[in-house]
Amino acid sequence: MRDPSSTLIPYEDVNEEPNETADALVSTEARQLSRHREAWRQEIDRKLIEWGRDPSQFEDVDLIPPTQEAIRVASRIALQMMDCGAAPPTAVVPDGDGGIVIERRTPTTVESIEVTREGAAEMVRLLDGRVADRRAFSVGNG
């Protein structure tokens, strides 16, 4: 399985002040990692698991709720990203066709992992508003 962190925006926190000692650096990094994990955990618990329990909340004329397969794959991706310490998503939303989009942004980069209703995943990266990369996103089976 490819390490998701190798193709994604690395985590960073510009608000953190640099620390003098190695211990302080480790502590800062650990806190940051903990915040990222918590943010991913909230997306998984409050959205993906909830959507799986009650997909009918999305039923609308122009919105097909995420399928169970899309939710399963998106949850697996979110867990992988959380485990590898990736920066948390800026949005996790249904795509309207039964799939799910996981989106992460920096000021110049937008990265979307698009999971289709069938559970296929694709990563699209925009740099300054232009598509710079589009590729299949492999999801582990674990």
Binding site: D60, I64, P94, G96
Partner: protein
Amino acid sequence: MAAQDASDPVADDEIVLKHVTERSGWYDPARDPSLSWVAFRPNKDDVSGMSVWRAKYKTAEDVARLAARWSNRKDQKYYVLSLRVGDLRRIGIQVSFTHDEGKGETGHASLTTLNTATYDSEKNRIREMAERVCKELVLRVDGPFGSFEERDQDRFQSA
């Protein structure tokens, strides 16, 4: 006064309105950025383009009320995005008068470039357009509007 059939050509200086279901999360005022590009991703129903309404014929609340009526979800709430037609055309999105699939309402139009077939064949181009629209072209967001059934009932009872 606007023509009753509302089939006049859509002018560059017109504003068009697009509804976004609150529960979709495509617009979330608590998030930064608030609007996701997915709001402008064509879905399977957008065969001839993405539905919008012309502001010269419909208010933002009218648009939300129509969405609620056709969704059969009276508990749903809607945000309504305002876009200038000339801005959309400038980035390559065509806007045309279209009928509302027999529902009998005036003022319907479509973002015809944002259709299912074009999205399937030109994903990168449509993705870039959707990004520009959500990042640069939304003039305002109204709402959320909702609970129309209760409000309409209240109005009826107080009349």
